[in-house]
């Protein structure tokens, strides 16, 4: 069977896998970005307890491999509590919590890189802390964070492949299953790799575009 015929035969399953990969990426990153904002803010809080919570969460998810996190959430938690959770759900939770920890650090860094004078100026006008954060600090922080954030999004997109270990049929798992039936591992892994590469390429180009769009004022201001 030629490579073209092989592709024609396995394409529907690979495409299905890619769709699941993209779903996992998009949903988990939306959740992770919210978690990142929340824990990023907690980690710069004046309250020791809140900072402690953020520090604990971040250190756990940065300090353990994601493959272990996925196993623990899918087999460990379901086994220990009897809660019924699909592999897909467990995978989403793992990805969101893992990326959320890294994104928290990106938010913390972004917020701390904004000149403290900005917060003082906003507060001295009578704006509350949260209003100053939303209207003055975060818009500037997010602009500075964009490269790091896009980088994390790309990493998470590729990390969805780790979720294959709990049996979620995303792109990598689809590739494995196809190879199990036809043993054409060189061609299939090459194709799977190419599909990841193209997706990442598109995402990073989009990231560049967003970065350029947003950098209209920061450029000369330093």
């Amino acid at each position: 069977m030629s490579y073209i015929d092989l592709l024609r035969e396995s394409w529907p399953r690979l495409l299905q896998g890619l769709v699941i990969t993209l779903e996992l990426t998009v949903i988990s990153l939306i959740v992770a970005t919210c978690l990142g904002l929340l824990f990023g803010l907690l980690s710069i809080s004046k309250n020791k307890f809140l900072r402690g919570i953020a520090g604990f969460y971040i250190s756990i998810f940065r300090g353990t491999p994601m493959i272990v996190q996925a196993m623990f959430i899918y087999f460990g938690i379901t086994g220990a509590t009897g809660i019924n959770m699909s592999a897909y759900t467990a995978g989403l939770i793992t990805l969101a919590l893992n990326a959320g920890a890294y994104i928290s650090e990106i938010f913390r860094g972004g917020i701390q890189s904004v000149n403290p004078g900005q917060m003082e100026a906003a507060r001295s006008l009578g704006l509350s802390y949260s209003m100053s954060m939303i209207r003055v600090i975060l818009p500037q922080a997010i602009r500075m964070m964009t490269p790091a954030l896009i980088n994390q999004y790309i990493i998470t997109l590729k990390d969805t492949s780790i979720i294959s270990v709990i049996g979620v049929r995303e792109l990598t798992q689809s590739g494995k299953l196809i190879i199990a039936s036809n043993f054409r591992s060189a061609e299939i892994w090459f194709t799977v790799g190419l599909m990841y590469y193209i997706t990442v390429y598109i995402l990073s180009k989009a990231g560049r575009l967003i970065e350029r769009r947003m950098s209209y004022v920061q450029s000369k201001n330093k």
């Binding site: 000149n115 004078g117 900005q118 003082e120 100026a121 906003a122 507060r123 001295s124 006008l125 009578g126 704006l127 509350s128 209003m131 209207r135 003055v136 818009p139 500037q140 602009r143 209209y216 004022v217 920061q218 450029s219 000369k220 201001n221």
Partner: protein, 242 residues
């Protein structure tokens, strides 16, 4: 009758006291200029007045609000106290107009039309009507500082604090900023400024305060203080800067 009443103000950072029992009353419409060597606590004193620095002891009353009382709604009091910073601190992601309309709009004191109308009249007043839609990085230092003054005025404050407003400016831009400040003083704004602009102090300040080591060493009407300092430390300091 007093706009600002400071009694026995103490501020310490870690081990040392930066302010060591400051007593200072400022009348409505008075312009007070604080001078002193670097590290004398002048900026700290100014920043205590709008609670950017939290006092370690003593009381500060602005507009009948005791801002040193933790119960007081600090955001409410700060609306009445405008502040201008050495580094301008304009919001770089907003145009001059947006910088000025942000607070009145966000605090729902004015609607969009009213806020912009006020912003334009303030920009006109500081001579920057044509820069309404410019971003801060497109403006010179002097222009940025004038926008910053307009931004503070947009809240209709009745006290204005200036923290070395001309120290970060190129010499040729100092005049335009001092001009705006002078006109504010002439209109009866209560002003407290940390500044070494002796010319401005002579022309506009009702009182000059010499601060050293966290205490008020000497205070007097500007010409009198500069011409005839009583305290040895004041003399030394004035010799160095005049």
């Amino acid at each position: 009758m007093y706009k600002v009443k400071i009694s026995n103000l103490v501020k310490s950072f870690g081990t040392g006291n930066v302010l060591n029992g400051i007593n200072l009353n400022i009348k409505e419409g008075e312009v007070v200029c604080i001078i002193g060597p670097s590290g004398s606590g002048k900026s700290t004193l100014l920043r205590c007045i709008n609670a950017l620095e939290v006092a370690s002891g003593g009381t500060i009353i602005v507009d009948d609000y005791e801002i040193t009382n933790p119960q007081v709604d600090i955001n409410r009091v700060r609306r009445n106290i405008g502040m201008v910073f050495q580094q301008f601190n304009l919001f770089p992601h907003m145009t001059a107009l947006k910088n000025i309309t942000l607070a009145p709009r966000a605090l729902k004191l004015l609607n969009k039309e009213e806020a912009e109308e006020r912003a334009f009249s303030l920009l006109k007043r500081v001579g920057l009507e044509s820069k309404a839609h410019s971003y801060p990085h497109m403006l010179s230092g002097g222009q940025q500082q004038r926008v910053a003054i307009a931004r503070a005025l947009a809240m209709n404050p009745d006290v204005m604090l200036f923290d070395e407003p001309t120290s970060a400016l190129d010499p040729e831009m100092v005049g335009e900023v001092l001009g705006v400040m002078k006109s504010l003083a002439d209109e009866g704004m209560t002003m407290v400024l940390v500044s070494h602009e002796m010319g401005f102090a002579r022309e506009a300040a009702d009182r000059v305060i010499f601060l050293d080591d966290g205490v008020i060493v000497e205070e007097n009407e500007a010409n009198e203080l500069f011409a005839n300092p009583q305290n040895e430390r004041t003399k030394n300091f004035l010799n160095m800067i005049l």
